[in-house]
Amino acid sequence: MDERAVKLTLKNVSKTFYDRNGGIPAIQNVSFTVYDNEFLVILGPGLCGKTVLLNTVAGLEQPTSGQIFLDSRELHGTDPGIGMVFQKKALFPWKTVMQNVEFGPKMRGIPKDERRKTAQKFIDLVGLQNFENSFPHELSGGMKQRVGIARAYANDPELLILDEPFGALDAQTRYSMQEEIIRIWKSEKKTILFVTNNIEEALYLGDRIVLLSRQPATVKETYVIDLPRPRDMLSPEFLKLREKISANMDITV
């Protein structure tokens, strides 16, 4: 019996898109739980419906059927308890790093002194001190994603969703950001739902990995990753697991 507190529960969630020619199922009967403070990775092949699944959890899409619970509260639409970091830079280009990070607290009417203090804490945490007054176009791809992460943290969400946040970064910047996100998660514990199509990234980051099938996405298997952190991507155990998951992952040509 697992004693850990459950943060997020998906029960038989399905989403079908309809057009003139009938229904296109994107996700089908997906059920899983995410524990409190867990780093859970959703791994799936390209175009399998990962983003639809996340958008459904975030309330940006309504499920066709099924239920989603945050703690014991059933979710209907967007929820302030859920923060999101997107693959494409979703920063305000006309706002500085500071203004981007403090945007959420500002909208909630937090007084300036207080929200600046919060924003500064997370800007420091993601390693962007001295860039507070820079604009997004002055930053590299990896730095922009750091701003996105700081902004999500500044809202103090109960659940943080990251949708392929490193997908647009080059392989090396990606390694550096993977180390960063683990450092941030360790120092400011949050429940994280992280989506990727990269097996190596999933194995480096996750406490558990939920493997999705090709579209319509169903849960193919759940893996518990016991390797100690920081993980060595070239260790025999790591490579063995990578091969095992790879063999089980669908390919869409």
Partner: protein, 247 residues
């Protein structure tokens, strides 16, 4: 100089104003060789590629193909970019045949070659489809087929599999090796991904941080298809990582 040297790069240097981006790069590539170029993020790989493709002029130095200064009018230099770059108004077959039509190949020869490439890439059933009807990976396969179709003197590939999932990447990497073996084309493949470089290349050029110089040329003798879990493979991957690691 040996007769089989296809590409000869001598003292290639590029400055933008006072900013030195490439510093005195020299190397040779044999005819039919598969070379990967790796270097730290932001080291000048794109400038390097733009010089090789003659899209920009070097500040010093030169590039010879078959002993003659590289010239897009004389030489066939083909590219594959990271984002698939197809003609959306042409079918798959039309895209594959485009270069041959531009070069005035006779119709019969062109059609024969188009069909060969369609078959080689397993794209026969998509011959009459348009790029908008294909998945990104299928579109990229078509672009790669198109690039190999003309028997180019030099094929430049700039991180063509950057955004694909690992399984798709391995599949396409095996495909590119198969095409390369069948056509004997000389390939320069630029990547940030060290595992990918070791998986593909006969020779890896390791660049330094900006201004980019060649740090080392590493030969990889492992037979294809390579095993990423093989001890020698891992040793080489670790070694190259140590040479460029900044993260």
């Amino acid at each position: 100089m040996s007769e089989s040297v296809k590409i000869h790069v001598e003292n290639l240097t590029k400055k933008y104003g006072d900013l030195l981006v490439l510093d005195d790069i020299s190397f040779r590539i044999q005819k039919g060789e598969f070379v990967c170029v790796v270097g730290p993020t932001g080291c000048g790989k794109t400038t390097f590629l733009n010089l090789l493709s003659c899209l920009i002029e070097p500040t010093h130095g030169r590039i010879l193909i078959d002993g003659i200064p590289a010239d897009p009018k004389k030489h066939d230099i083909a590219f594959v970019f990271q984002e698939p770059s197809s003609f959306p108004w042409l079918t798959v077959k039309g895209n594959i045949g485009f270069g041959m039509r531009m070069k005035g190949w006779p119709r019969e020869k062109r059609e024969k070659r188009e069909n060969e490439i369609l078959k080689l890439m397993g794209l026969e059933k998509f011959a009459e489809s348009y790029p908008g009807q294909l998945s990104v990976s299928t579109e990229q396969r078509m672009v790669i087929g198109r690039a190999f179709a003309m028997h180019p003197d030099l094929l430049l590939m700039d991180e063509p599999y950057g955004q694909m999932d690992v399984k798709m990447r391995f599949y396409l990497e095996d495909e590119v090796i198969r095409l390369w073996k069948e056509t004997g084309t000389t390939v320069i493949f630029i990547t940030h991904n060290i595992e990918e470089a070791i998986y593909l290349a006969q020779k890896v050029l390791i660049l330094t941080n900006k201004p980019a110089k060649i740090k080392e040329q590493l030969s990889i003798d492992l037979p294809h298809p390579r095993n990423v879990s093989d001890a020698e493979f891992i040793r080489m991957r670790k070694y190259v990582t140590e040479q460029i690691k900044w993260w």
